[in-house]
């Protein structure tokens, strides 16, 4: 019975079916399956299958995002029960779009990619003042901060945030990664960012690399 329910959870994640994941996760909890087992054997395994199919070219970005949403739905069912058993994350990432810029589709894809690859991600949203980036670095103590900008008039904020981190003596405590359509490696080098990815997929490899994860 519990094996069958775990399989149902896994398959529902692979299908990106939020309702089904919620239903089967609740059923598994009611049937006495341990929350950590549901997480590792159902939800995480499901998102791994999604990742494999994406890598093989059978799945596309909407499949990834729906898969991640389905996994999140399952996690929100078991999270209150996981108090003693903490989730293991690969690392803590904080990410936002700079002040004066309301564009967030690229940032949101990066968030989904990082989450489904096992990172804990804090989303600061859009139009985030530089000072807020710095304050949140102090508060959340992420290992990596991601700064997104799309407009040619707002990319300079990426530089400003790195300078502010420097002034506050926080620069060596956090890795800074940047992204956005007008961004390239030369700009990352110029403003002293630790990394840049030309698309959402490279963000995962970049973060793993920066944290020394293979």
């Amino acid at each position: 019975m519990s094996q069958e329910l775990l399989k149902n959870v896994l398959e529902a994640v692979v299908d990106g079916d939020v309702e089904a994941v919620t239903e089967f996760t609740e059923k598994a909890v009611a049937a006495g399956v341990k929350p950590l087992e549901i997480l590792n054997e159902g939800l995480v395994k499901g998102i791994e299958v999604v990742g494999e199919r994406f890598a093989e070219g059978d799945y596309f970005l909407p499949d990834l995002i729906l898969g991640a949403k389905a996994m999140d739905a399952g996690i929100s069912v078991i999270e209150p029960l996981l108090t003693s058993e903490k989730r293991d994350f690969l690392g803590k990432v904080m990410i936002g779009t700079v002040e004066g810029d309301l564009h967030d589709i690229g940032k949101n894809i990066v968030i989904m990619m990082l989450k489904s690859n096992g990172f804990e991600v804090f989303d600061l949203g859009v139009d985030v003042p530089s000072k807020v980036f710095v304050d949140k670095v102090k508060e959340l103590k992420p290992q990596i901060v991601g700064i997104s900008a799309l407009l040619t008039t707002t990319v300079n904020k990426q530089k400003e945030i790195i300078e502010l981190l420097q002034e506050e003596g926080l620069r060596d405590q956090v890795k800074v990664i940047i992204g956005g359509a007008p961004i390239n490696q030369a700009w990352a080098d110029k403003i002293g960012a630790d990394g840049y990815g030309e698309d959402a997929l490279s963000a995962v490899a970049l973060c793993k690399n920066l944290l020394g994860i293979k």
């Binding site: 970005l61 004066g100 309301l102 690229g106 040619t152 707002t154 007008p182 390239n184 698309d199």
Partner: protein
């Protein structure tokens, strides 16, 4: 020529969907000025969104001018007749990178590139409006003002400016007024139109909304250029994304008319799509060209001038792919009918500007404009008497005055650089089109002379730049 993308029933469905989106879903904005304007004129606020009414939309659509003109500054005779669907070509805006003309490698765009692209576009006969590349080596606080000034100095042709932030607008307008011979002269004979890019889906943001109001109040033609991506910031389906996009653009058109009935405004649809493997924003074919054609037909339906992006694609170098992508994406909306086709000289989904590609797009612009000019059907062009005469005299058409007359009048299109020589004469150098384009770009940059701004205007613009930089860095 008369082509259509939607039939009459579909066109009506697209319009009804647009109205439904505006009345049921509405727009959001962070600008109290825009919000106030819309609410004072009959729109309603619900759940933080502004909902339009059919009456407001209908009333505003009645006052939009169906045509107006744009002009070059001193030294330019060009008149851009907006509303006549002449498919003028405009250079790509905001590319952060260029393909270096000497090394043929990609590198960051500089102020020198902005100047050179403006100069090259000034020299090319079939490129009509200039938009700047994105130079990294100018003060970023006043970047759009600096771009506008540099473009004015290196080209006398009309400009298209993207106002990405509202704080620079007063300076940009001052610079334009200096070149046009004063504010009143600028209003009478605008040498630029200024576009705002609201955010998809259905969000006018803060800066685009504020800039919209300032542009209309200044009396400068306004363009509205949101940029949804099918499947990411708009529906994946072409009809759905075009309808949402049309609603986004119309919301700003309506605002412009509520503010100042009769204010000149341009609909600038840019429906792009996302690569579902990498998340890249694609400005490629066929989706971009199809959506541009669909959107252009909607602008025609409202009798409002329009621009689209057509000289664009995903190719990374000037090659066969960039050639067919640009021709496809530009020709489709041109056949439906649009005023300006943007992004000439672009590569890599409008992220690179390329000198050679600009020369190739000049060639494409030439053939597209020749194509849409259509074919005159008259007694003279039907030439039945000429046929009769030739057949009866057993002569060749080659030696008839009718042939000479029409040849001189442009009966055949002449490619600016395309090869039509015999094989053997081509084989002497075996030059590919890309090589010829690079060669022509180098020649024009070495020899073309841009008519300078008047010394007074030039000095005035210097003062404005100094003031703008001082005030912007003090804040």
């Amino acid at each position: 020529m008369d082509f259509e993308f939607f039939n009459e029933t579909e066109l009506e469905q697209m319009h009804r969907a647009t109205v439904e989106i505006l009345t049921k879903i509405g727009i959001s904005t962070l600008s109290d000025r825009l919000k106030g304007l819309l609410l004072d004129n009959g729109c309603k606020e619900q759940g933080g969104r502004i909902l339009f009414t059919e009456e407001v939309i209908e009333k505003a659509l009645k006052t939009v001018p169906s045509n107006f003109n744009l002009y070059g500054r001193n030294g330019c005779e060009l008149v851009i007749e907006m509303g006549k669907q002449k498919a003028y070509a405009q250079t790509c805006v905001g590319a952060p990178s260029v393909i270096d003309l000497e090394t043929e490698e990609k590198r960051d765009a500089t102020l020198k590139d902005l100047e050179d692209f403006a100069k090259l576009a000034d020299a090319l006969e079939n490129i009509h409006l200039i938009s700047p590349v994105f130079p990294r080596d100018v003060p970023q606080e006043i970047i759009v003002t600096s771009e506008t000034a540099a473009t004015l100095r290196y080209s006398s042709k009309p400009q298209r400016i993207c106002a990405e932030s509202s704080h620079e607008l007063p300076y940009i307008i001052e610079v334009l007024a200096a070149a046009a011979g004063g504010m009143e002269a600028l209003r009478q004979r605008p040498i630029a139109y200024i576009e705002v890019s609201t955010i998809s889906p259905l969000n006018s943001g803060f800066h685009p909304a504020e800039a919209l109001i300032d542009i209309v109040e200044a009396g400068i033609p306004l363009g509205i250029v949101p940029c949804p991506m099918m499947g990411a910031t708009g529906p994946v389906t072409l009809a759905g994304c075009v309808a949402q996009h049309n609603a986004e653009i119309l919301s700003s058109v309506v605002a412009s008319q509520l503010l100042k009935p009769g204010a000149p405004v341009v609909m600038s649809p840019r429906v792009t799509f996302m690569d579902m493997k990498t998340g890249l924003g694609l400005w490629a074919m066929p989706e971009q060209g199809l959506a541009a054609a669909a959107s252009a037909q909607l602008a025609k339906y409202y009798n409002i001038p329009s621009t689209v992006t057509g000289y664009s694609g995903a190719a990374k170098v000037a090659d066969i792919q960039s050639g067919y992508e640009h021709l496809y994406n530009a020709l489709l909306p041109a056949l439906i009918g649009t005023d300006i086709i943007a992004a000439a000289g672009s590569l890599d989904n409008c992220l690179i500007s390329c000198y050679a590609m600009l020369v190739i797009d000049d060639e494409l612009s030439s053939v597209i404009r020749h194509t849409i000019a259509g074919c005159e059907v008259s007694e003279d062009t039907l030439a039945i008497d000429v046929i009769e005469e030739i057949v009866k005299t057993n002569e060749a058409f080659l030696g008839h005055k009718h042939t000479r007359k029409h040849l001189r009048a442009g009966a055949f299109w002449k490619p600016p650089i395309g090869d039509r020589s015999t094989y053997d004469s081509w084989a002497v150098n075996k030059m590919k089109l890309e090589d010829k384009a690079r060669q022509k770009a180098k020649e024009l940059l070495a020899t073309h002379e841009v008519v300078p701004l008047s010394p007074e205007a030039d000095a005035e613009i210097d003062e404005i730049l100094k003031k703008a930089l001082k005030e912007s860095t003090n804040n």
